[in-house]
Amino acid sequence: MADYHWPPTDKCSLIGRRISRLDGPWKSSGRIKYSYDVNRPNMLHGKMVFSPYAHAKVVSIDTTAAEKMPGVKAVEVITEPGKEVFWAGHEVVAVAAETEEQARDAARRIQVRYEKLPHLVSDVDPAKAGEHTKQLAEQTDGNPDQALQQAEVTSEGEYGVPVITHCCLEAHGQVAEWEGDNLTIYASTQNVSGMPGEMVRAKIADSADKVRVLTPVMGGGFGSKFAADTWGLACARLAKKAGRPVKMMLERDQELMAAGARPSMYAKVKVGAKKDGTLVGWTSESWGTGGPDAQGGAPSIPYVVRIPDRRVRHTTVLTNIGPARAWRAPNHPQMCLITMSALDDLAAKLDMDPVEMLQKNIQMTGQLAKTYSAELEKAAELMDWKKKWHPRGDKTPGLIKKGLGVSIHTWGGAGHPSNCNCTIQPDGSVSASLGSQDLGTGTRTVIGIITAETMGLPLEAVKVNIGDSKYPPDGASGGSTTVGGVSASTRRAATAALNQLLDKVAPSLDAKPDELEAVDGQIRVKGSPSRAISWKQACAKLGTTPITGVGQRERTDDLISSGVGGAQMAEVSVDTETGIVQVDKLVAVQDCGLIIDLKTAESQVYGACIMGVTYSLFEDKIMDEQTGRCLNADLEFYKLAGIGDFGDIVVHMMSGPGYDERGVIGLGEPPVISPGAAISNAVANAIGVRVPTLPVTPDKVLGALGKGAVA
């Protein structure tokens, strides 16, 4: 029988190679339909009415004028009078009309009266937040006060990361269509298999098997699209009321105000070391906001570098900024920025190269110490660190100062629950079906590669069926859990299907099934390649009945594992006259166990680095304290990096012995964690002073220089 374990990578014809994504041609030809593109016959357009106030009670809602307007077919109240809204952009009413313009007009005519209530949208000072704070946790290990007292050098600083948004280019939303009791949802979601159940819990459908969710492709999620959300539920209800399909996609301002925000995190840190750079103690008072609800516990800082004696106190500020959602690598970029900035400042005080300091303390990173050490070495080589690095403050003459920064990060990335059916048809065609989804990460391609590799077929011979809730259930795509989940289930399903085929074929090759292998489009006897039949001939022996192999990610699955490291280095130029920071080069060295598709894996890292440049230099959900509204709820002032906003990015994937045998591990999150710290540290190295918070904008650079400029 074929063995389900991964073949050695040097024996693979597809796994680990650079392979173009399967849905690439659909996307770059503009022909694939995203949820936003679905136009159903007789479809109505939905629009939302959102609260203009950051905190208010809904007093009354009058929809009569709107309902009489041309084209208006249904209205759905989401927040009933008497209930409160907790952020500007909070959903209140939804309306559906014949055209998008009519729906927008109708939304404007819905009269909502509010009683304004006090709001808080500033998270920068917990002392000013009064009753809007909640001390979540305090964690002490060892004796940090004594450790810091005995430290030969200490450094104190304040660091932070503001609230930013997800800003998926495809807005949140869906098309909902009823046929009797059956509901079809064309949803832009990270959770195809989970959404039917959500519709039942919301009492929209009476059973999950009457709900079908279709998501062949989706335009970005980054952690913000796990649920149907109030607008998704309202869309289904509007469609039911109107008896017609409804498309409800958020407009960009709503998207930025209400559809997800990454929690902020700020900290006052004291960290100490011996003169040789050995870290001895850490204390931090941190705070941040995740919107109106307190979430999570104390941050796990110091991040990655586990200083034995430490005390962490964390306070959550309850604000009306908007609802927090998981943002690619939840909490890690914030914890990383705080930790790596503090360590970098300490290294500067010791007049020590920060890479040397990390290497000196590498055992504090735990199990992955060797990986980190190797990754730092590789990154230093690719950056030419030793040659380029200088002590803090670029002393060369001129207004442009150059600097280097480093950071390391970690992530779990264990595979989520996943089920795959792999079917071989008598005509030789092969399909793998999973209720998973491809967020643009390459999930579809990974499934295809594993199936084809297992069958000894070219990639084109395999059809991948995902993005449909009728397929075997699969986990939501979050936390870099998808690639592990689908890789395990697909490999097991494909192997199970192949073994059934080998059973059928064995007699005709006069061999036992476990003497056979599937290679190069043939089933052949191991060791005697001439005793072979073609894949098509083999499958013809199935007669009229296809075979299906069933695969499930096992609870402890030896095809996958978790826990990765990663090291990044940034080189920046800072114009000390204008304060503008240019990222000249970013080096990212990353491990993720066994790589299935090197091309899409590298793309994940490139993309994460660019997303990292964006949140390091530009992104900030700016709130107006007086009105409580978001001041930059559009793409003109909510800045995303463009193609010319950074220099070079160099990606190196750690693979081969020591990595491949770990099996598949998730990759989406880890490389987005370090850019903020690496870039912030590089700026400090360039200009000689710390810009304490992200984004490192020109005004902050100039402000920091005013306090202590470069000599």
Binding site: G24, K27, E100, G220, R252, G607, I610, M611, I643, G644
Partner: protein
């Protein structure tokens, strides 16, 4: 941009609203590429007073149409497409909501991100910032030559730019990709030998959230090379 759409927003005495136009429409008009034509069909001389950049010569008869739906013809990918939409409907919404040409994507809807880029009279154009009626046939004269990504290559084939985006993995979620491909295709029609530095300038009007720019840089240079090789 919600503030622009808020009808309760106190209008200044000289605001376009007082002249019978919502601010959103006004902003779209002055932000659009064909101010004069729209001004004429939408609001005639009233808008001309507000939009002082309108040359008198093209104001024509001042015939007013709308605000209800208006029958019009658009020349898209070499074909005449008839549709009936309100004059305020953007070219992007006309393509997507009325003609099921959904390759151009709606993201910012305010002329910033480039996801809606199509080619109008040979130029890459944000279709969210043009009204359909601006580029429609009018007074017996043919409207603009509109090319969308659906017309870039024949069905089942890939344009060299699209193929190069696949090869260089210049796309992840892919929602920005058609806009990038159209910007790139239009650019390469007039620039045969771009460098990476050129590409950074040329595609500065398109935004991507997944961070595919490294692939895009290579894809454009490679597509240029392959198009010169006669494969286009």
């Amino acid at each position: 941009m919600a503030k622009l759409e808020d009808p309760k927003d106190p209008a200044k005495s000289d605001s376009p609203k007082k002249q019978g136009l919502l601010r959103r429409e006004f902003v779209k008009l002055v932000g659009g590429t064909g101010v004069a034509a729209t001004a004429q069909v939408l609001a005639g001389h009233k808008l001309a007073a507000a939009a002082t950049t309108v040359p008198n010569a093209v104001l024509g008869s001042g015939k007013v149409v709308g605000p209800g739906p208006v029958a019009m013809s658009l020349r898209i990918n070499g074909q005449e497409k008839k549709l009936t939409v309100e004059p305020r409907v953007t070219l992007l919404d006309a393509l997507r909501n009325h003609l099921d040409l959904t390759g151009a994507k709606k993201v910012c809807d305010r002329g910033t991100c480039g996801a809606c880029t199509i080619i109008v009279n040979g130029k890459p154009t944000y279709s969210c910032s043009v009204l359909a009626i601006e580029v429609a046939d009018r007074d017996g004269k043919p409207g603009a030559d509109i090319r969308t990504i659906e017309g870039l290559a024949t069905e089942g084939k890939l344009h060299p730019v699209s193929a190069s985006f696949v090869e260089n993995d210049a796309q992840q979620c892919g929602f920005c990709t058609p806009g990038f491909v159209m910007s790139c295709a239009a650019y390469l029609e007039t620039h045969r030998n771009p460098t990476i530095e050129d590409v950074k300038q040329a595609l500065g009007g398109n935004l991507c959230r997944c961070g595919t720019y490294m692939g895009v840089r290579d894809a454009v240079v490679e597509a240029a090379a392959s198009m010169k090789g006669g494969r286009a």
